[in-house]
């Protein structure tokens, strides 16, 4: 009885404190990029930006692009790292509102649950720009525009390339899929776009699909089991390069040759991925460019001046085959 009294509350304490400390820790780091001062009348506009985290090389390139272009465009940037937690991000946005920044931009950690805090921003008359990932709010007036990649399109481009490659195939083509973090927009949309595209050829069949959490370790661990459970895998579609890179190791360990025995298609085109593509271990990458900083600064100035902007703006993106990768690799920034 005493035991129970001793340890039961402590579990609750973990949860509460973890949440609280993570939040404060983040807030503390957040302001380090710029001086203080929000909405000062020095002609510069102040942009509050809440980043998802630093979960991948892609994300880091995205962060760098935003920071560099803010400096170049003379925008006062308040940067916050949410460490993949929605509650941190909500807290950061509330801080921005309190500091009366001119424009708020953020990459939502998850799709849902934003209505309240976006309403607060709207009430404070601060325009909001979504970058990279969207939210599922029914009220589209809660944000000015969504700047980012079209994940459905990325999935579709990957699928269309595969359909083209396998148009001569007579027998069934077995595909396994490494999904991103369950419930995230890129995972949902890339899955959707890919599935739509390969529906054109009934021979193409997804035989297994699991989440690898966008990480190399996750991609490797899942691929190992796919390989054991399915003797014949023809194609791997990974929702990002990192999972594909992890899967490479599992494929090699299983005694198969990546890029030859198994066709590998990924999304993102980060440097390690491009290298693998150039080396012939990947077969195709649909780019998802993180370099949206210049576009974002441009948009921030426009919405601050009250100009009308389209509700959806796509980042400039392309696709890469092995040959294109070889050519592009030397100039790749991230």
């Amino acid at each position: 009885m005493k035991r129970m009294r001793d340890h039961l509350p402590s579990r609750r304490i973990i949860a509460v404190l973890a949440a609280a400390l993570l939040a404060t820790g983040t807030a503390a780091c957040g302001n380090s990029d710029t001086g203080d001062g929000g909405g000062k009348d020095d002609g510069k506009i102040t942009l509050g930006f809440s980043q998802v985290g630093a979960e991948s090389g892609w994300r880091t390139a995205n962060t760098t692009s935003i920071k560099e272009s803010a400096a170049a465009a003379g925008v006062d940037l308040k940067f916050d790292d949410a460490q993949q937690k929605q509650e941190n991000q909500i807290k950061a946005i509330r801080n921005f509102i309190q500091q009366k920044v001119d424009v708020i931009a953020f990459s939502p950690v998850v799709e849902s649950g934003w209505d309240t805090v976006l309403k607060e921003a709207k009430d404070a008359k601060i325009p909001v720009i979504l970058t990279d990932r969207s939210v599922d709010s029914a009220d589209k007036s809660l944000y000015k525009t969504f700047l980012g990649s079209d994940f459905v399109k990325e999935g579709r481009l990957a699928g269309e390339w595969l359909v083209e490659q396998k148009k001569g195939a007579t027998g069934p083509v077995n595909i396994v899929e490494l999904q991103g973090t369950t419930g995230s927009a890129p995972a949902n949309d890339r899955k959707k776009g890919f599935a739509e595209a390969i529906a054109a050829n009934p021979n193409l069949k997804i035989i297994a699909s699991q989440s690898g959490d966008f990480t190399r370790a996750g991609g490797k661990q899942v691929m190992e089991q796919f390989l054991k459970a399915n003797p014949k895998i023809d194609v791997l579609f990974a929702h990002n390069d990192d999972m594909g890179l992890g899967a490479l190791e599992a494929i090699t360990a299983a005694g198969k040759v990546p890029g030859k025995d198994i066709t590998i298609i990924t999304v993102d085109a980060v440097k390690d991925g491009m290298q693998a593509l150039a080396d012939g271990r990947f077969n195709f990458i649909a780019e998802c460019s993180p370099l949206l900083g210049p576009q974002l600064m441009d948009l921030a100035k426009k919405v601050h001046n009250g100009e009308e902007v389209p509700a959806r703006i796509e980042t400039q993106e392309t696709t890469f085959t092995q040959e294109q990768a070889k050519a592009a690799l030397p100039e790749r920034k991230y």
């Binding site: 404190l17 993570l22 820790g25 994300r59 880091t60 989440s211 054991k228 005694g255």
Partner: protein
């Protein structure tokens, strides 16, 4: 007859009986789903199969959980192990990436020693906060749990640091005498900890401090030293686990490496029969707990349970294990089935004195 029944009762009453049953059920379910699940082949001179994967993938968790077992046995908890995994992995990879020859064994060993040294300092930091300054373990280690993640990302500069070093890679995916090296390392560390705790009096003293801290002080135990020591051991275990995690994918990911492993480790310890309140601990139980958790994850992939339902599936299994282990739940269940047999054993006497 009578002795048969009491023998059966002793078996089902063993604290690891139910976790073993759940493990066997999971393996059986996998085998039914795919008859080849349990088969192990020799491929390229290595053992190859899903069961080998389970043990290999659980190696980092086993390491972290072993250290956690000692901490929990003293009545403490170490939330910082995940961050220490990330930091040690990041430091090792960073050092190797700066070497002119990443395959040089000397360079890799230096990297390991350097990273392990940093981890020991971090463990000592935890130990000082808890044992000397007297901060509650949960708060003291929370500091490093939060700050350590940032530290790891600082080391990798927010990038995923990819290295190309065969000796380092071997820690995660190499083989020794057909066995994955990770398994061998985990086993060696387990044996080392077993020897350190059971061949010396460390185990007894840890259990004594966790079982009754006031009585231990009056018996002359310098509990501060012991408490300090277990946090250092825990950090060392986490560091080795961090090497494995990063070596497995030949890259250091400050953000993802060891993320939430502290929670899995605590769960493994609890499934293994060590009370969160401290006291008696079981290293074997912890290993079993870690294997059970990894089997659960692998089952999700192997049986292709949809990602949307896999978390629920895991939660249900974990709740089931914890429930059947809880004496109160079992007592109620058994009593209902056979009212003549009281399920309360003598060992549980102290907990049974509830107010009238």
């Amino acid at each position: 007859m009578n002795s048969d029944r009491s023998g059966a009762r002793a078996l089902t009453g063993h604290r690891l009986f139910w976790p073993v049953v759940v493990l066997v059920v999971l393996l059986a379910a996998n085998t039914i789903y795919r008859p080849g699940f349990l088969s192990v082949q020799l491929r390229d001179g290595h053992l190859y199969g899903s069961v080998v994967d389970i043990v290999r993938l659980s190696a980092p968790l086993i390491l972290v959980a072993l250290g956690m077992t000692l901490v929990i046995a003293t009545g403490g908890i170490d939330l910082s192990v995940g961050s220490i995994c990330a930091i040690s992995g990041a430091i090792a990879c960073l050092y190797i990436s700066r070497q002119p020859d990443q395959n040089s064994l000397g360079g890799v060993l230096t990297a390991l020693a350097l990273a392990l040294g940093v981890a020991l300092v971090l463990g000592a930091w935890n130990g000082v906060l808890v044992a000397v300054i007297g901060i509650q373990p949960i708060i003291a280690t929370l500091i490093l749990m939060v700050a350590g993640r940032g530290l790891a990302q600082l080391v990798t500069e927010g990038q995923i640091l990819t290295i190309n070093s065969e000796p380092y890679k071997a820690i995660g995916v190499g083989h020794l005498l057909t066995l994955p090296l990770a398994i061998v390392i985990a086993l060696a560390v387990a044996l080392l900890i077993a020897a350190v705790t059971r061949r010396t009096a460390l185990g007894l003293i840890v259990e004594s401090v966790g079982g009754n801290a006031r009585a231990s002080r009056l018996a002359g135990i310098r509990s501060a030293r012991i408490t300090f020591l277990v946090y250092v051991i825990s950090a060392a275990c986490a560091a080795v686990a961090g090497f494995m995690m990063t070596a497995n994918v030949s890259s250091a990911d400050g953000n993802a490496a060891g993320l939430w492993v502290e929670l899995d480790a605590i769960l493994a310890v609890v499934i293994g029969g060590t009370s969160l309140a401290g006291g008696r601990f079981s290293l074997g139980g912890t290993i079993l707990g870690a294997l059970l958790i990894q089997t659960l994850t692998t089952t999700v992939y192997a049986m292709n349970i949809s990602p949307q339902t896999s978390l629920l599936f895991k939660a249900v299994v974990v709740i089931a294990v914890c429930l059947v282990q809880a004496p109160g739940f079992r007592a109620r269940f058994v009593r209902r089935r056979a009212p003549a047999v009281a399920a309360v054993t003598a060992g549980e006497q102290p907990k049974e004195q509830v107010p009238a």
